[in-house]
């Protein structure tokens, strides 16, 4: 059993709120910057929730492998769909 300290959780929350502020600010600057911010900041935020809030960091390798397999499946799915749509 792994206990994650309150302090760690609050720091992660502050980072999540800060990243959201950057994302929102970027969307008011220009559409191109908004897309760029989305591509980098959104997966970072999701990763922080998965890794710390959902304790993935402290779980056995099996959990990490399962998540990677699911994400890889999704990436292949998305990649092949775009290849299909682009060259139709």
């Amino acid at each position: 059993m792994h206990i994650v300290e309150y302090r760690t959780l609050i720091v992660v929350w502050l980072v999540l709120v800060g990243l959201t502020a950057v994302l929102v600010a970027a969307s008011f600057v220009s559409p191109a910057l908004a897309v760029l911010a989305m591509l980098f900041i959104t997966p970072t935020k999701a990763g922080l929730v998965l890794y710390i809030f959902m304790h993935l960091k402290y779980e056995a390798p099996l959990f990490k492998i399962m998540v990677l397999v699911a994400l890889a499946t999704l990436v292949i799915f998305i990649g092949m769909t775009f290849l299909d749509v682009a060259f139709r």
Binding site: L9, T42, M54, M66
Partner: protein
């Protein structure tokens, strides 16, 4: 291990329970991933229509609800820490706070959808008739994605309240808390999905 009395007393498998929960959550990720893929392909086909339709969504509701969900994720994570440290009362308070934040999210969603529907912006509604297909598609995806997410918030709210009751009657304890962990995992996933919905529908169009 072969002692039958010992086995009868202790046949819990919290790690196995968490593996099961994670497997379920991964199917949820693929479910929402499919919707996001649909969004991406149609956005590629109708970039201008998505941009003009997206400007009609309320940034304020989207950003406020993001703050609500991020904070509820913090409170449910702290709730597990509290129970692991034996702070039952704090754990119950934090669970109640999380449930209240879930209700806040749903009320915001209700107000947001209500305003859109009032303007006739719903599938087949007067506000969408005669608009280009790309804009109709945007609102269709907006309602189906945020609607499915809203159902998950409602389900999560029910789970949180049930677990709050189980903590109160000591069915979920510092020694046996996998139910709380799994409820928390579900709630965090609801947050993760919203993290993607915010930029896709509210910010980058």
């Amino acid at each position: 291990m072969s002692d039958p009395v010992h086995e009868a007393l202790d046949h819990r498998d919290p790690e196995g329970a968490r593996v099961g929960m994670w497997l379920f959550l991964l199917t949820e990720m693929l479910l929402f991933g499919g919707l996001f893929l649909l969004y991406a392909v149609y956005r590629g086909r109708y970039p201008h229509e998505f941009a003009s339709a997206g400007k009609e969504l309320s940034h304020v509701f989207g950003i406020a609800n993001t703050f609500v969900l991020l904070t509820s994720s913090l409170s449910v994570a702290c709730c597990l820490t509290a129970l692991q440290k034996g702070q039952k009362r704090l754990c119950m308070t934090l669970l109640a706070v999380t449930a209240l934040l879930a209700v806040t999210f749903l009320v915001n969603k209700w107000l947001e959808w209500g305003a859109k529907i009032h303007h006739g912006l719903y599938p087949g509604g007067p506000g969408l008739i005669g608009r280009p297909p790309g804009e109709v598609l945007f609102f269709g995806l907006y309602y189906s994605t945020t609607g499915l997410h809203g159902l998950h918030v409602l389900a999560g709210l029910i789970v949180l309240v049930v677990v709050l009751g189980l903590v109160a009657v000591d069915r979920v304890t510092p020694d046996d808390h996998v139910l709380l962990e799994n409820a928390g995992l579900y709630w965090h996933l609801v947050d993760v999905v919203w993290i993607f919905i915010l930029p896709l529908f509210y910010l980058t169009v």
